[in-house]
């Protein structure tokens, strides 16, 4: 089966999966109670409450409500966010851009740092670089994000005053336009170096906090699978051919060691999204995670459902990408029958 056909088939299956996900999301949210709370105030009479219920179709059976909700989504109506005091669709893109900027930055840090640290350590097993990497990895995997983030804040923001907090410097950011909402990209598009540095400067600490744990996981996985690959006979056979150690490592061992690592990278993506909630709260990053946390606490179901639906779809897509990368790395993988 061709790679192209495989991708096509996966894309065709995608809507069915999304439908299933949407049902689960809706049902699970409704288990938490009626979403009416966000529209009410204390002065309302029971009559007025019933009126509001009827207006949002909350007096209908649950499955009818689901259809109304699903229809709204197809029409681009995700509901009213009580927390943001605006329609979800108005607020979502900007918050998403902020979160994506953070998640991508830390994801890049984690993947590159993780793979290179893991390779470096795995190729020098039980020597000093391996032990040093182990310390980095174990601490990364065991430090809670909220603690590590606050630690960084205390040192670099409160004491040393080296790093800023929040997303940007207001005076710099009001001076350029924001077509994408991703500030680093906006700064490059505007051609402003100072704005770019400002964006990076604000990004460093949260990205480091968010990416540290994932770096550790990826580095450990990479190291152990590389160590395992290096003990295989084919590595010695490659050396016996006269290949340089560098090529043995790159072309033979590392490529095979990447296969299990890529699985972990796919899973790590979920870890990153989950992490954005704490990291955004700590660093006052105006993204989805913080919005989401507020929505949970205040029973803002429209926001909640949108967020969960969105992350589920994202997960499905990431998994698809991971499977395609598999097929590229391990060309034995047969894609379907």
């Amino acid at each position: 089966m061709q790679l192209r056909d495989y991708i096509l088939r996966r894309v065709i299956i995608l809507p069915i999966l999304i439908l299933g996900v949407s049902i689960i999301v809706f049902v699970l949210t409704r288990v938490g109670g009626s979403p009416i709370g966000i529209y009410l105030s204390h002065e309302m009479t029971p009559d007025e409450v019933a009126q509001i219920e009827a207006r949002f179709n909350l007096d209908q059976p649950v499955w009818v409500q689901y259809i109304y909700w699903a229809r709204g989504i197809f029409q681009g109506d995700f509901g009213w966010s009580g927390v943001a005091a605006a329609p979800v669709t108005d607020v979502f893109p900007n918050k998403l851009a902020a979160t994506m900027e953070l998640a991508i930055a830390s994801g890049l840090v984690a993947v590159f740092l993780g793979i290179s640290l893991g390779t470096y350590a795995g190729a020098r097993r039980n020597r000093l670089p391996d032990h040093a990497t182990r310390i980095v990895a174990v601490s990364g995997a065991s430090l809670p994000q909220f603690w590590f983030g606050i630690l960084l804040l205390i040192v670099f923001w409160a004491n040393l005053g080296l790093a800023p907090i929040g997303r940007s410097d207001a005076s710099i950011w009001s001076s350029i336009s924001h077509p994408t909402g991703i500030y680093t990209v906006d700064a490059i598009l505007a051609g402003s170096i100072s704005a770019f540095w400002d964006a990076i400067w604000h990004l460093i600490l949260p990205a480091l906090t968010l990416g540290y744990g994932a770096t550790a996981i990826i580095a450990r996985m990479m190291r152990s699978s590389l160590v395992e690959e290096l003990q295989q006979d084919y590595v010695d056979a490659a050396r016996a051919k006269g290949l340089a150690e560098r090529i043995v490592l790159r072309r033979h061992a590392r490529r095979n060691a990447l296969v299990p690592t890529v699985t972990v990278i796919g899973l790590t993506f979920g870890f990153l999204l989950q992490g954005t909630i704490t990291v955004e709260i700590i660093f006052r990053w105006p993204g989805l995670g913080r919005w989401m946390a507020d929505s949970v606490l205040r029973g803002d179901q429209a926001t909640l459902m949108t967020y969960v639906l969105f992350t589920s779809v994202l997960f499905l897509l990431v998994n698809l990408v991971v499977d395609v990368i598999y097929a590229y790395l391990d060309r034995r993988v047969t894609l379907g029958k």
Binding site: Q232, D233, Y234, D236, A237, A238, R239, A240, K241, G242, L243, A244, I247, H252, R255, N256, V259, L329, D330, R331, R332
Partner: protein, 437 residues
């Protein structure tokens, strides 16, 4: 221990040229309980074009000895403690320039005895003006140039020795890209002095951005020609091992092939550059008996065609008897007996060799009767200077437990390390009559 005893024995007859001389090789492994003397003073020669069998039980150091030729030991904990392996590479035949002529029997190579030094490798010259490379002392780069080109290796399990995620063609072409860059450029119609991205492509040293350079028009056509030439070389190498339809096999992955096919691919890979020495580490152990016979035939045939010497490592005596010209029996890190296959099997002089030979079940033996050597191989952690076989030997006497026998010649080219044939300094001597209870 005197390393050259065996040479004295050989001097009596016209001496065949040796392509490799191992002298007093010691390889130690650091373990928690002490130094493991995996190979402890091994000396032997591999003669030009012969098959030397290296037999012994599991853990006697035969694989480690073979791997020492290519310095393929796990370091640490392994360490080549002392000794030397002198390697005399063949030169191309002076009469035909490598194309094959009657004087070199069509191999294109000169026998080791009268070969001239190869200019591209560093080394010293001995009295017959053949170049000598000290394998244990050369640097990593020089070792890399010898690996796969002058000395190649076949591994025990072909299923594990091929990279599972690369197609056969890519694994085989690596050998040519490494060692046959100039020939490859020539075959593609390019001058041997070609440099830049094309040369890097033909020697597998691509740099960042090279793939882009190669995809652009001026280089693109050359690249396709290089790939064509490379594929031709690979097909030829595969064809030599009598695989059906080599062109089709190239795109396959190892897991799509049978064990025998995989081993043929390994052999094609190992013999691709006409090595002077082929180290075969139990190449048929993982195969069926029927496949085994054909693989052995194949090795024999290719060896003859290319004047390659084979170091055949095996625990299978009957197999060694069938294919080897000479046999070295190893026990506990030492060579205990060495000689022509004929002499060893007709008149084994070492009690261990005798035990091994009688342990091979024959068709005539009665059901339920299997001869075994009692006991197990001793641990090789800091061994005492006694006969290593003492304790398992049916003929041992007290001198065996006090002194260490050295390899001494008993007849032409046949040497034994046992006090039965050469008296110990003192104490009661063992004889074949004095079987211990």
């Amino acid at each position: 221990m005197q390393p050259v005893d065996q040479e004295k024995a050989v001097q009596a007859r016209p001496r065949p040229a040796s392509v490799a001389s191992v002298r007093n090789l010691r390889v130690y492994f650091q373990s928690k309980r002490g130094m493991v003397h995996a190979v402890d003073g091994v000396s032997f020669d591999i003669y030009d074009g012969e098959t030397l069998g290296l037999v012994g039980e599991t853990g006697c150091g035969k694989s480690v000895t073979g791997r020492s030729f290519l310095k393929l030991l796990p370091v640490p904990p392994g360490k080549i403690a002392s000794g030397s392996i002198q390697f005399k590479p063949h030169a191309t035949c002076r009469n035909c320039d490598g194309n094959g002529c009657p004087s070199c029997e069509g191999t294109g190579r000169q026998s080791a005895a009268n070969s001239r030094g190869r200019s591209n490798e560093k080394g010293i010259r001995d009295s017959v003006d053949a170049e000598i490379v000290e394998l244990l002392e050369i640097g990593r780069e020089e070792m890399r140039r010898i690996r796969g080109d002058r000395i190649a290796m076949i591994f025990q399990d072909p299923g594990k020795a091929l990279n599972p995620t690369l197609p056969i063609s890519e694994q085989l072409s690596e050998v040519f890209l490494l060692h046959r860059t100039s020939e490859l450029l020539e075959a593609a119609g390019l001058p041997a002095s070609t440099g830049g991205a094309l040369r890097r492509f033909a020697s597998q040293e691509q740099r960042f951005g090279d793939s882009l350079l190669m995809a652009l028009p001026p280089n693109r056509a050359f690249r396709n020609r290089l790939v064509g030439a490379l594929n031709k070389m690979v097909i030829e190498a595969l064809g030599d091992t009598q695989v059906p339809n080599p062109a089709k096999l190239m795109a396959r992955y190892p897991h799509e092939l049978s064990g025998g096919m995989k081993q043929r691919v390994m052999i094609a890979q190992a013999l691709a550059c006409n090595p002077d020495i082929l180290i075969a580490d139990e190449p048929t152990t993982a195969l069926d008996v029927t496949v085994e016979a054909r693989i052995l035939e194949l090795i024999k045939e290719l060896q003859k065609k290319r004047r390659t010497s084979v170091l055949y490592i095996s625990h299978d005596l009957s197999l060694v008897r069938r294919i080897c010209d000479r046999v070295a029996v190893m026990y506990a890190g030492k060579v205990v007996e060495i000689g022509s296959t004929d002499a060893i099997f007709r008149d084994p002089r070492h009690p261990y060799t005798r035990g091994l030979i009688s342990a091979v079940p024959s068709a005539g033996a009665r059901r339920g009767e299997l001869a075994a050597i009692r006991g197990t191989v001793p641990e090789l952690v800091d061994p005492a200077p006694t006969c290593r076989f003492a304790g398992r030997c049916p003929f041992e006497a007290d001198s065996c437990r006090r002194f260490e026998p050295e390899l001494k010649p008993v007849s032409n080219g046949h040497a034994v390390a046992c006090f039965i044939d050469s008296a110990a300094p003192s104490g009661r001597q063992p004889t074949f009559q004095s079987a211990a209870v």
